[in-house]
Amino acid sequence: MSLDVPSDLGVVGEAVELVASALPAGTLSPRRLRFNLRTALAEALANAIMYGGRDDPARIVRVRVELGRDVVRIHVTDEGDGFDPSTLPDPTRPENLEREAGRGLFVLRHLVDHVAFNEKGNGICLTLRAG
């Protein structure tokens, strides 16, 4: 499945539901579908739209879903210049706890089984194993 999403934060919810509802029943446990996938994909999309698409609806974020036998891979790619994820501070450190922003990628990493970035840094691949 492939979806082109305009860089508009208002469509994140709808895009997430489209992907979640397209997965065959039983691919993921109810909780992982309801919480892990939805939350991680929403975070990835919001980041792609805000930072890659600069919230410009003319810029597109591409979502591509790959289904393996026991695995779901979701690729989210934006039209931005990319970034280096290793530069992000740990939002759980005491000195960062009261920051308003900076939790999206951290949350996402802890909800899926694997996260990979493309070389440019404008694409992320989320892997969720069955169960």
């Binding site: 934060l9 208002g10 994140v12 919480f35 939350t39 975070e43 706890l97 009261e98 951290f106 949350v107």
Partner: protein, 111 residues
């Protein structure tokens, strides 16, 4: 409407979040709470008993509001988190920043 505000008899503002608190509606919550704060309210409970989903932007606006309310001598408590939302707060260690109760009534009683 996603956010409802009502004052209990002791002046605590209870904010109900219906559905979700996300990047697309967090500014609306911020505006409503800050309006109440500017109007003199000091104690707030955000009731998540009807909330299915909060994203990191929603978490961020709660952090920001908590700070602003404390700066004005007030207090913000959270209530009614389901299992998923509780996990989110624990993951991000925000359960150490907020006073969280099981129900809004418990939060009100704790003031």
């Amino acid at each position: 409407m996603t956010f409802s505000l009502k004052k209990d008899k002791s002046g605590v503002v209870v904010v109900g979040v219906d559905g979700q608190l996300i990047v697309g509606n967090r500014q609306e919550l911020k505006q409503k709470v800050l309006e109440s704060l500017d109007g003199g309210a000091k104690k707030f409970v955000v009731d998540f008993s009807k909330t299915g989903y909060i994203d990191s932007s929603g978490l961020g606006v709660l952090v920001s509001l908590s700070k602003k309310i404390r700066e004005q001598g007030g207090e913000l408590r959270l209530a009614g988190l389901n299992e998923d939302l509780q996990t989110l707060f624990e993951l991000t260690k925000l359960d150490t920043l907020f006073a969280i109760t099981r129900t809004a009534d418990e939060a009100l009683a704790a003031f």
